[in-house]
Amino acid sequence: MESAWIALALSLKVAGWATALNLVLGVAAGFALARLRFPGRELLDAVLTLPMVLPPTVLGYYLLVVIGKRGWLGAWLWDTFGVNLIFTWQGAVIAATIVAFPLVMKSARAAFEGVDPQLERAGRVLGLNEWALFFRVTLPMAWRGVLAGVLLAFARALGEFGATLMVAGSIPGKTQTLSVAVYEAVQAGQDDTANLLVLIVSLTCIVVLLAAGRLAGPRSTA
């Protein structure tokens, strides 16, 4: 039973890091896609959305090719810094980050595109530079949509299984996340553990979805 809580703690750590990373990467990508005009913009959007629709095993395979010990980035990391990401919780973070990334990027892009450009013009003539404009005008107008995407990304990262298993494996206490632990428990016939794990995951995801729904829903004019 104790292993269930260890798996939960690890899952929260991995999903937390993945969400934090996406808060920067996903929001930045969403903002760039909403504001910058360049050829191939929609193609880039499609490519960045791929992790949402590709089978997680395919993603896992891509990741092994890139960050595996003989992958082009992995080999460099190993040779230069002695860093290995395969079968580590950091590897699980990378897998979860990539899988959840499109959820943040898509909602952030839609939220930023919904900001009235007139308000940003007003911010500029009132003396704001572009950074201040983002934090004082654009983000406050878009934060609901952004946060809804971030919550979905957290839930997705928490439930990540396929890519994680391929990249990080299933080492109890080290890389065995909650969703992987469910699989292992069922395989081993430990129904009690499986029941508890399934309940925890389901409840957490319901809470997150309710919160995301509230944020993305119609605005209350308080």
Binding site: L119, R121, L126, M141
Partner: protein, 227 residues
């Protein structure tokens, strides 16, 4: 000269091409650019404010160059020190009246807090009789209060000049004539150069000390100043 504008700009969008080629200069304190919608009034005003970059030309405001393609001067909008009243006022909906007015006085990445803003904010709130609604949000205000808030926000920073984009079009007719009188009085008091764009002949009659007629992106008739 209050305003000296000589700009060209090609705009494309929605499969249609528009060429703005505007030149006028005015020494009057109150200038009105008048013309039908689609004449290029808004583009001209945005160019003066630094929100639209002309392809070439020069813009002087109150004697200061803010744009000169020849000598590569292009002062960013934030440094032009111009008060801009937007057509729909563009008040920040999540901020209170007081926070909106204090907006330009606050530097950095955070918006002013609910009670922030010094003597200048208090003075404008009083001048526009906004004390009762100072802690309310824009959507709770009447049309007139919204316009006053937007004017206070534009003026609190002591700009060099005031730019007004169809200032009364969002108001119902009765309120429109009242706000016209109010603005008239205010302009007399602050004595700041003002440039208004409008398609309403009454605005032209009331504020057009100097009149610039715009049609299809060109000045048709820059009337001499009214005596």
């Amino acid at each position: 000269m209050s305003f000296e504008v000589r700009i060209r700009k090609q705009v494309e969008g929605g499969g249609r091409r528009f060429e703005l080629d505007v030149a006028f200069s005015t020494d009057a304190r109150r200038t009105v650019i008048y013309g039908p919608s689609g004449a290029g009034k808004s583009l001209t005003l945005q160019a003066i404010a630094g929100l639209l970059k002309p392809d070439e030309g020069t813009i002087y405001v109150d004697g200061h160059p803010v744009f000169d393609s020849g000598s590569r001067i292009d002062v960013p909008a934030r440094e032009r020190r111009l008060g801009y009243l937007f057509q729909d006022y563009a008040l920040f909906p999540q901020l209170t009246v007081r926070q909106n007015i204090a907006f330009a006085l606050k530097r950095g990445w955070l918006n002013p807090s609910r009670h922030e803003g010094g003597e200048a904010v208090d003075r404008w709130i009083q001048a526009f009789e906004l004390e009762r609604v100072a802690q309310q949000r824009p959507h709770q205000l009447s049309g007139g209060q919204r316009q006053r808030t937007a004017l206070a926000r534009a003026l609190v920073n002591e700009p060099r000049a005031l730019l007004l984009d169809e200032p009364f079009s969002a108001l119902d007719p009765e309120l429109r004539s009242r706000m016209r009188t109010e603005l008239d009085t205010l302009l007399e008091r602050i004595g700041m150069p003002m440039l208004m764009i409008t398609h309403d002949p009454e605005d032209l009659a009331r504020f057009g000390d100097h009149r610039v007629m715009l049609r299809d992106g060109r000045v048709r008739d820059a009337e001499p100043e009214r005596s």
